[in-house]
Symmetry: C2
Subunit: 365 residues, 2 copies
């Protein structure tokens, strides 16, 4: 692991997107989204994923110059056609529309069809904060998760993000997959040669397993909660809800028809909609009560929960968003740690676009 | 257990509410909400809870003749003061406002302050279905749940319900507490003298436990997921989200300040808002795409997931709402089974209002 300057990685990603043909503003927007993932510690959704987007573009499964268009709208809603653009571009665009709608109607909601992987859900939700709005963001994703009682991979990790503004405290930011764990945690166990806890995955027959490789052997991830006894059917409900808002409401592909992010897997031969889908929302606080009153109460909520009594053996109680915020401070200072294979991948990527990936960028600040 | 005619139980509940002074229409609305809980098998929220509402009214913690008023509104939102009314009355009222707002703005959202326990979350969400809208409903509740890493009871079971219309298939209805299990399941284990699975509750120090009585001994319920390793922090996020939407956005009591439903517990001595809070939403399908297209896709979604391959040892894969719908058919035919102590309670309640609870009402249809 070498640490890289966060600003440099953002610059590099933007240059790659520009060389793909993305309009400059969109390229920087997309690069910022990857960069925020790296800063917040969601390494799987940061610059490590850059070459994945490029490969989809090379296969013409992704359009670098999308003509995004509003298909239908009301005072508070819109349906956006993403024209096969980067989700890193279509989702922020949709969120800006939602924010504008909310200024008039109180809330704004935009469903997006014909899009691609949109990075971390939290990025788009957080766009609402500076407008004194609550931001909501969800997307469906390639099917890896089985419904309760089933062994069919029919749902993605289908994340939900919600960002609430506060006054003096940092905002409360929820950003969670609707599965027990993310795939990245299984990969950590594989590297360490360890077993997985029960409730994370099941084998190809739908049996409980502790095999950290179960997913690679045809098994599936479990919805939040794990098995039925531990409330896994509720995680299944959440995953279903995200799938329907993102893609049945928008006219994108849902369930087993969601096209894969990885370029070596072909999209399903039949389609039930266009691309993948997102659902973005902005809720103006003062459409309900004065923003300052709300934000003062949020501060009190946050301080109260932070001062909850820790369980025996625990040091402190966290607020949603705390770990990511603390890591951001640390990584802005010390840089983003990248695996050797990610560095190799970025160098190769740079070469193919006539851009040198600087091996030892000055470490910052 | 004796089975009672569902229509009779609804009639009885309505008569009690009318004798409390509720306007006739509101009384029937509230009775219908309890009745739907009984039909759907959520026995803890049905007629068994009737005397609980009455006791709160006797203590003047609940107002039978609320003057509900809109404090603030925009084209797509409203803040409703429930004037300490039954949540069984304020929430349907709020949902009707949300539906009207959605007709113009595309979506409608109503936050409710100064309310009380609102029965099953799903009832209010399902009100949107006949308008070709998606319904959303959430409420906070008396604190019984500990945030991750904490032993403080700071959150309620804070349910979320979402109802999606479909065409020929039954609607897809999600109605879930954001905890691993409901309290009722612990009571079943207590009656049977059995232990609880790990991940349901923790003891008063915040340790894992299988003691089915842990909650009664000062322990707490766990958010969906259970401990941190199994994603319990995500359940904590969901519970927090419901608390904030329901009560920070509306100006009701949040977190540890939520007043208890049970009359033998005093409300907290300090208040940070008014009563308990709800958040209701209606999303008009054709604010995004033609309702028939959406509903056809919903039918396909439902059929696809119902035909998912069952795990070894499982017979079939369920759709959210299936178990409740099937039970409704059965209970409409065979009646609602009531525990002996519930019957005794209802007889006593009837007597105190000069109304005889008929012990052997003609069993129906």
């Amino acid at each position: 692991m070498i640490n890289y300057n966060s600003e440099y990685l953002k610059y590099f990603a933007a240059q790659i997107f520009i060389r793909m043909g993305c309009p400059e503003e969109q390229a920087w927007n997309a690069a910022d989204c990857l960069n925020q993932a790296d800063l917040r510690g969601i390494d799987s959704h940061g610059v490590a994923r850059l070459s994945g987007y490029v490969r989809l573009w090379e296969l013409k499964r992704l359009n670098a110059v999308p003509q995004m268009s509003i298909i239908h709208e009301t005072p508070g809603t819109a349906l956006l056609d993403g024209d096969r653009g980067l989700g890193l571009v279509t989702a922020p665009h949709a969120m800006r529309i939602a924010i504008e709608k909310a200024k008039f109607a109180g809330t704004g909601w935009v469903a997006v069809q014909n899009s691609n992987h949109y990075g971390i859900a939290g990025y788009h939700a957080m766009m609402a904060l500076e407008h004194d709005m609550i931001g909501i963001s969800m997307t469906n994703a390639s099917p890896l998760v089985a419904p309760t009682f089933s062994k069919s991979r029919f749902l993605g990790t289908n994340p939900i993000a919600v960002a609430f503004p506060s006054l003096l405290q940092p905002p409360l930011v929820i950003d969670m997959a609707t599965t027990t764990v993310a795939n990245g945690k299984l990969e950590v166990l594989q590297r360490e040669g360890k077993d997985a806890p029960l409730g994370w995955t099941q084998d190809k027959d739908g049996n409980q397993t502790t095999d950290a490789y179960s997913l690679k052997k045809g098994g599936s991830m479990l919805p939040l909660g794990g098995d039925r006894e531990h409330g896994g059917h509720k995680g299944y409900c959440l995953g279903a809800m995200v799938d329907i808002f993102s893609s049945v409401l928008s006219g994108a592909n849902y369930g087993p028809w969601v096209p894969p992010f990885v370029s070596f897997l072909e999209p399903p031969s039949t389609q039930v909609g266009k691309g993948i889908g997102h659902f973005l929302g902005a809720i103006r606080i003062d459409a309900f009560r004065p923003a300052t009153e709300f934000k003062e109460n949020m501060d009190n909520w946050i301080q109260t929960f932070r001062n909850a009594e820790p369980s025996v053996g625990q040091e402190r109680v966290l607020i949603p968003g705390d770990p990511e915020r603390e890591l951001t401070v640390e990584r802005l200072k010390n840089g983003i740690p990248l695996h050797e294979q990610v560095v190799t991948d970025l160098k190769k990527l740079g070469n193919s676009f006539g851009l040198e990936f600087d091996d030892k960028p000055e470490i910052i600040n």
